[in-house]
């Protein structure tokens, strides 16, 4: 059964300069117990998508189209109070910024207890006991509950936030780059803990990162986003062996841990599209080494290319050729030259 079904979701940000289409026509399913890794360059809409699931978008962000069925009920249509009841209890977030996500004037324990008590009739003592339990699970001493955020290290704070997300055994955990603020050694430990616990309580997870190597270790499914759209969705194992989309091929080139030792890193030239502007054709076409006229005119639909493997590209049949060429530096140099020519042409 699907825990979450996102259907044709559009999210806009209304700004003074105009409307920014942060998410366009995004659809995907998340099964009970499944964890999805959401990857893509900064600005592709990962955080926006994550926040919309909790209806936590900033004031200028609007879900302009689509539905998000959580346990069969559309989150988009729910009232404020209904959404409030879902938060933490059903859907919990581990946010991007461990440093500032705890209120400086209350102890960490009080902040946990408050969350627990917002969703149950638990007494203070019962809630405190539960807080101690989750602290133990996450590897923090119970006496830390009495600490104020400023008395804790970054790693401890992030653990406390994870503990918070776990207190009520949510069905869905949304982790938005949960470790970016931490140093590498701590990052690994905490990542492993998150996964372990997620498996233990059998909750589903949306794990957001811009580092696809992390996804290969911890998620069953990967969704690659670009310019507010899904480019590819696949089983992680399949994806890392045989990616389809030219953008996915480019991403894999750009990450060291996936490449075998000795191979050189190649980055994708150019930058993501300006989502304020009207987009024509495929979102990635400007930077795609294999683009054709069709790509510039027509938006490719998300199509199945294998079992639960979806891509949005006009040329899935050419994938073998693409994979070969994408390994070559010249292929991407070609894009760089094309981009330079185009910008000269415009000027």
């Amino acid at each position: 059964m699907n825990l979450l079904e996102v259907r044709n979701l559009d999210i806009d940000y209304v700004t003074q300069e105009g409307t920014l289409k942060a998410i366009s026509d995004v659809s995907f399913d998340l099964k009970q117990g499944e964890s999805i890794g959401l990857v893509g360059e900064s600005g592709c809409g990962k955080t926006t998508l994550a926040k919309s699931i909790m209806r936590l978008l900033p004031k200028n962000g609007v879900i302009s189209k689509g539905e998000m069925l959580f346990k069969g009920e559309d989150i988009v249509k729910k009232s404020k109070e209904e959404v409030r009841k879902l938060r933490l209890k059903e859907i919990a977030m581990i946010s991007q910024s461990a440093m500032n996500a705890l209120n400086p004037v209350y102890t960490v324990g009080d902040q946990l207890i408050e969350g627990i008590r917002a969703h149950s009739n638990a007494t203070k003592e019962e809630a405190a006991k539960r807080a101690e339990e989750v602290f133990k699970i996450i590897g923090l001493e119970a006496k830390r509950l009495k600490s104020y955020p400023h008395q804790m290290s970054g790693g401890m704070k992030q653990r406390a936030i994870i503990a918070m997300a776990l207190t009520l055994n949510p069905s869905l955990i949304i982790a938005d780059e949960p470790t970016t603020a931490l140093d590498v050694v701590v990052q690994d430990k905490i990542l492993n803990q998150i996964i372990e616990i997620q498996k233990q309580i059998n909750s589903s997870m949306v794990f957001i990162t811009h580092d696809i190597s992390v996804v290969s270790e911890i998620c069953e499914t990967i969704i690659v986003m670009y310019g507010g759209k899904i480019m590819e969705k696949a089983n992680t194992k399949v994806f890392f062996k045989a990616p389809y989309h030219p953008y996915s091929l480019g991403l894999q080139n750009a990450f060291p841990s996936i490449k075998e030792i000795g191979e050189e890193l190649i980055s994708i030239p150019g930058s993501p599209p300006n989502l304020m502007k009207e987009q024509n054709g495929c979102r990635f076409q400007e930077r795609c080494p294999f683009r054709t006229e069709l790509c510039q005119k027509e938006l490719p639909e998300l199509k199945e290319v294998g079992e639960e493997h979806l891509i949005a590209c006009h040329y899935p049949e050419k994938v073998n050729e693409f994979r070969e060429d994408a390994k070559k530096r010249e292929t991407w140099e070609g894009v760089r030259n094309r981009l330079i020519e185009e910008s000269v042409g415009e000027a």
């Binding site: 936590l56 409030r84 938060r87 933490l88 977030m93 996500a101 400086p104 004037v105 408050e114 917002a118």
Partner: protein, 323 residues
């Protein structure tokens, strides 16, 4: 913390000595002959001389200063020239009236300011918000005495809801604190001046609260509080306002100084028998001892309030620890 407070109190005392010295010499540098006010010029010269001698006005400034400081340590400010009674007694009599009026006004200003400011930030961009800003600035910019007189005109002269001046109806007398201040009559007298003073004070807490609240509302921990599924009101008041309050407290400490100026005006307009009005009268009467005493007391009050604000800040913000 206790050590910190002790240190601050010691510094406060030293500063008070300095302030007292300055006040002493300032008054001596003022134009006008003090003897002319306390000693009737129509008296024979010998009698005048005698009086001046008795009040110590013939001694050198230095001698006067040493006596003044020595007495000060014993909290003796001498006798008022005008009333002929110990200044300490006069201050004791006038101080409660001033404090009560000032605190009522502050409570009005801070209660409305803090809650209103938080609410205005929440309702950012609405008509009510801009109305709130305008309203508070009008009362800040309008001359206090004018606002006071208008209020008297409307609420006392026209509507006859409140008495226009003083702090009790004439003929009423009481001796103990309760008899003077814990009466309905006193409350009636208190309302109008404390509203006028409150309106004058309100802009500071209201606007600082609003701005600081706007900043706090974009903090990550507010999003986190929302993500926890807390009620909107809990997020607004328990999380956002609680943090936004910190700059308001800091500003409050600085604000107390300027508040005293407003207080003097209010006391004069409403004939409020407090220390502020007494100062104005004492200065025009060249009543050095009383003016000096009152000024020193007000300085002490300001320093004390500053200390209170600092301590309050430490209580409100666990990140601050004084050593």
């Amino acid at each position: 913390m206790l050590k910190y407070i002790a240190k601050r109190v010691a510094i406060m005392l030293a500063m008070l000595m300095l302030v007292s010295t300055m006040i002493f010499f300032l008054f001596r540098a003022m134009p006008g002959d003090a003897t002319a006010f306390i000693v009737d010029p129509s008296m024979p010269p010998e009698a005048r001389e005698l009086m001046a001698e008795r009040y110590g006005l013939n001694d050198s400034k230095w001698v006067q200063y040493t006596i003044f400081m020595k007495d000060l340590v014993r909290l003796d400010f001498g006798n008022s020239f005008f009333y002929g009674r110990p200044v300490t007694d006069l201050i004791k009599e006038r101080m409660p009236a001033t404090l009560i009026l000032m605190f009522s006004a502050m409570i009005i200003a801070y209660l409305i300011g803090v809650f209103g400011g938080a609410w205005m930030a929440w309702k950012r961009g609405s008509k009510l918000e801009s109305a709130g800003v305008t309203f508070s600035l009008i009362f800040r910019s309008a001359p206090t005495f004018w606002v006071g007189l208008m209020m008297i005109l409307v609420f006392s002269a026209r509507l006859r809801w409140f008495p226009a001046q003083g702090m009790r109806t004439s003929g009423y007398s009481g001796d103990t604190f309760a008899e003077i201040f814990l009466t309905l009559d006193f409350l009636k007298h208190l309302i109008l001046p404390s509203i006028v003073a409150g309106l004058y004070f309100i802009a500071t807490p209201l606007l600082i609260m609003r701005n600081s609240m706007l900043e706090v509302l974009s903090e990550d921990y507010i999003e986190m509080a929302n993500a926890k599924g807390l009620k909107e009101k809990t997020v607004l008041y328990k999380h956002a306002a609680r943090n936004a309050l910190l700059p308001v407290v800091t500003a409050g400490a600085l604000f107390i100084g300027s508040a005293i100026g407003g207080q003097v005006l209010i006391e004069v307009v409403f004939s409020w028998p407090g220390l502020g009005r007494e100062i104005v009268q004492a200065v025009t009467r060249h009543d050095y001892p009383l003016a000096q005493g009152a000024f020193i007391m007000i300085s002490a009050l300001m320093m004390f309030m500053n200390l209170v604000a600092d301590i309050l800040y430490a209580v409100l913000d666990p990140r601050i620890s004084y050593k």
